[in-house]
């Protein structure tokens, strides 16, 4: 059989058109992949987003969405000797995404107590709930329609002592940079991630330095930022 191959302009256009339609149909089919399961335990829930290790509300991830950087104040309660550690923790998250995700600065004039004031802040707490004396720190976030509006980080200065880079004595102390890195993860919307490579593991042992976000942290963050 004789095969005649002549690529004139018209043929090329038809070919490109056909390939384009094929690709478009592929995209349409991929676009309908909602994470939905139907079973007796989950009858009607559909259309919810993959959590991606983010807090979810009504089936949608909660974050600062398109608003980074998140501005966070170091309040006057925090000893200034720890500023550099806190700033380094912010830089680590920023370097993960190659963009400024968190912007931290000291404001000694800010006198509010922690609460829903739409001011994100870090507080050094000399008092702590007796029942929760093993809690090293705590981050509360509030949102409106899945967009974060407020984040407060409380550091338990009653039951823990901290060390920073260069300190000789670390026995029984918590690495503040690692701790703040974890809390900043909550401040941008992440939940606890129980993978050894994650900086979002629930508990940080004393003397342990855990300041390198793992692949799971990076991929989670990429779902929202």
């Amino acid at each position: 059989m004789k095969v005649l191959i002549t690529f004139d302009l018209k043929s090329t256009r038809i070919l490109l058109f056909a390939i384009g339609i094929g690709l478009l149909s592929l995209l349409v089919s991929c676009g309908n992949n909602f994470g939905l399961k139907i079973g007796d335990q989950d009858v009607y829930a559909f259309g919810s987003e993959e959590p991606c290790n983010f807090i979810t509300s009504n089936g949608f991830r909660v974050s600062w969405k398109s608003d980074p950087p998140v501005n966070i104040i170091i309040t006057s309660s925090v000893p200034s000797e720890y500023d550099s550690e806190i700033l380094k923790a912010a830089d680590i998250w920023n370097s993960v995404k190659g963009q400024q995700l968190v912007h931290i600065y000291r404001d000694n004039s800010f006198k509010n107590d922690p609460g829903y004031d739409k001011v994100n802040a870090i507080y050094w707490m000399p008092d702590w709930d007796t029942d929760l004396s093993n809690q090293q720190a705590r981050t509360s976030v509030r949102w409106d329609s899945s967009k974060l509006q407020d984040a407060d980080i409380r550091i338990n200065a009653k039951n823990f002592t901290f060390f920073k880079e260069g300190d000789e004595s670390t026995a029984g102390k918590v690495h503040l940079q690692s701790l703040v890195l974890h809390e900043l993860g909550h401040a941008v919307g992440l939940v606890h991630i129980e993978e050894t490579a994650s900086v979002m593991q629930a508990y940080l042992k004393s003397q342990t330095i855990r300041n390198k976000p793992g692949a799971v942290d990076t991929s989670s963050l990429s779902c929202e930022y």
């Binding site: 056909a18 349409v28 089919s29 309908n32 009858v43 829930a45 559909f46 259309g47 709930d129 029942d131």
Partner: protein, 198 residues
């Protein structure tokens, strides 16, 4: 074979492929939305399994009411549930707030033994004062039930906005009804507001 003919055949196959893809994706989407509302707002349950239909029928009996002092959850099926279960747990979750990535919650766990003492009981009630108190108490043992709080702290205000998010039935027949199922069946959430002084 002329290249133009080849391209025409390729195009026809291409369109056939597109048709197949669209049919498949649409049928999947229809299945996923098997309980979605129709244009009149009525819900369709025709595609549900027998177990799902039973669950749907149960959720349809749920009623939620709040007074200044009490939260009431009512269902005609309360005694029927307790015939095959031991505990009924109502989980109330704070809205628009998370602490360490988790939404604060209060569980009110009722004993079926207590419910079955009075066969006319259709309502589970929660005292608002107890609801506020459990923020600091963490666990409160009441007559025939107990309240437990999670992620609520004495140095943080009790959140204002709450929702009944889960109803867990435990025992030989264990299942959970979540907020999405309540919304799809009743087209509303069981939301309420607690005004608290610290």
């Amino acid at each position: 074979m002329n290249i133009k003919k080849m391209l025409l055949i390729f195009m026809l196959l291409d369109f056939g492929f597109i048709g197949l893809v669209l049919m498949t994706s649409n049928s999947q989407f229809k299945n996923k939305r098997s309980t979605a509302s129709d244009s009149n707002g009525a819900t369709q349950t025709s595609d549900l399994t027998e177990g799902q239909k039973n669950k749907w029928a149960l959720v349809e009996t749920f009623q939620f009411q709040m007074t200044p002092d009490w939260i009431y959850f009512t269902t005609d099926k309360l005694q029927t549930i307790c015939d095959t279960s031991t505990l009924i747990e109502l989980k109330f979750s704070a809205q628009n707030i998370a602490i360490a990535g988790v939404q604060p919650s209060i569980k009110h766990i009722y004993s079926c033994d207590e419910i079955k003492k009075d066969l006319s009981t259709k309502t589970l009630s929660t005292n608002i004062s107890d609801f506020k108190k459990v923020r600091t108490e963490k666990v409160m043992i009441l007559v025939g039930s107990e309240l437990r709080s999670s992620q609520l702290y004495s140095d943080e205000e009790l959140p204002n906005d709450w929702r009944l998010t889960d109803i867990k039935i435990s025992g030989p027949s264990t299942f959970t009804i979540n907020e999405f199922e309540i919304e799809k069946t009743l087209l509303k959430h069981f939301d309420f507001e607690i005004i608290s002084a610290r």
